[in-house]
Amino acid sequence: MSANPEPTAAPALTVTALPPFKPDLYERAWTSIPHPTLPLIATAHQKSVTVFSLSTLSAHSSLTGGHSRSVRSVAWKPNLGPGKLCLVTGSFDSTAGLWRWEGGDKADNLEVEITAGGNGAADSDDGDGDDKDDWEFTLVLEGHDSEVKSAAFSPAGQYLATCSRDKSVWIWEDVGATEADDEWETVAVLNEHDGDVKAVAWCPEHNRAGRGRYSADVLASASYDNTVRVWREDGDGEWVCVAVLEGHDGTVWGLQWEPRPAAARFPRLMTWSADRTVRLWTLQEEDDGDGDDGAGTAPRHAWGGLGGIPNTMRRSLKEEWKCTAVLPQAHTRDIYSAAWSADSGLLASTGSDGVIAVYKEEPQQASAAAGNGTGMTDAEAAVALDGDVPMTNGHSTAGGGKTPEAPPTAWRVMATVAGAHGPYEVNHITWCKRYDAACPSERRGVEEMLVTTGDDGVVRPWQVS
């Protein structure tokens, strides 16, 4: 399927379908997560997960039997040694599971040949144990009262966050003696959302160290209650909610942090929602205008020295986040997934209407920014919303003078593809490096493609050019 390029001055993008991953899963697939470094991608469908090889576009191994209900989310554990793989699965049976696979050098080999056919179902794997070493279910993480919607590892792999329909976010810490020991302890149970929590995401590592009283790990959660909450760990080891991002008019289905923020700025947060918009939120940072050095400056307000105050008194020390962009509307129904590329900065979204849309951020040349860069994007957002007031974190927009000057940008739709999976809903979209044979060898591992996962059980890659 070719795209309908937007008639614009800048060269538009074309999104072309590539052959789907084999075998077809024949059951609803929910999400496909590429490995951070290896040419593998894990797809959750029904009660199991199938790992595909990106070089052969066919099945590599599968994870079965660990859950009694649908597996809805998957995440790779980062920073493992060579030849080792570890995944966490989040399931509707209220548990999360940790799985390990040690297939020797198979994981590193880009040219692996899969001989055992199999259709990704359990029967071909059990008892064979030849090419496909099965994944081993090493640990079950119980505790949630109802369906686990999402699970994510922190960038260093030290923390795991899970969220659930029981309105809570749980944070687990790796307390195993070595990396290979799967022992996780519940460190926090955060009950502050008013509804089903749909997704959690950790802020990727950035050069901004912890802001004074907080550590460097930042977690964000998106919920059925139309808000996103940002959580940080304070000096006492307590996880506290430091911001509530309000502005969406419907369930926030998910969120992703900006994978490669501009040098001195804190990563922005991208959220997508049932209200058919994708929004970008920026942390309003207070500094003296010099920008922050990598070491992280101490907070310049009065709270800096008050380490001894008990947590019941400290709730009021919050961050301020502002919605600084609302992407042009390209969807007619709920947006279930969006992905922000670390390499190209392009953003892609998809959802219930089966449409794939690709957006690009461009510096805004038109009309002089009067002073505040943030003010310009607020106006852009206002236009996009037909004059609605740009959303803030409950604070007035008047005091915008303290934020670091961000060059004004605008987002434009570069390509759309309708009916990406036919009449089926598309549940997930992600950017992914290409390693397949059709890609010229010097571009393997460099060029990016999109991978969509739909209710038809098809995991389909798309070439973007």
Binding site: R69, S70, S94, G143, N191, E192, E238, R315
Partner: protein, 170 residues
Amino acid sequence: MASDPFDDVLNLEDQYYDQGYQQGYDDGYQAGKIEGRSVGLKTGYEKFLEAGRMQGKAIVWANRISNLRAAAAENSAELKSQPQDASAAATDRRPLPALPGNPRLEKNVTSLYALVEPGTLSTENNDEAVNDFDDRVKRAQGKLKIVERSVGEDREKDAPQSPRQGRNEI
């Protein structure tokens, strides 16, 4: 026209309507007040029962952790003698097994107690106080779960939950 003498007679239905309306309104007002008070009492009781339950658990755990019990012993001269008596009584009979006091557990138990400390939870009925109460109780519930898991007391809750059948098997 000289209809004054007949006004009352000609507008009887208005009069009875007003009378009935007023009676209904007054009755409703009374019933509303009574129901409001009883619902308020019930909700208040339930909320504080929950808070007290968590506080009780926190005290028991605190006394089982040797570090915290030592800290409580220092304050014995001060306010409460009840916890002291309770732990002394416990030691007379069969003491509860002591808990290994790792710093994280101690911190969690301490903050759990601080969140639901008696006397600090306001009984005012204004929005701010109610929100504060709800917020603290929710956070305390989170802490409770963490402590229960690290102490190992969450096991008995798992048993009845094994047949976790959903409406649809997806």
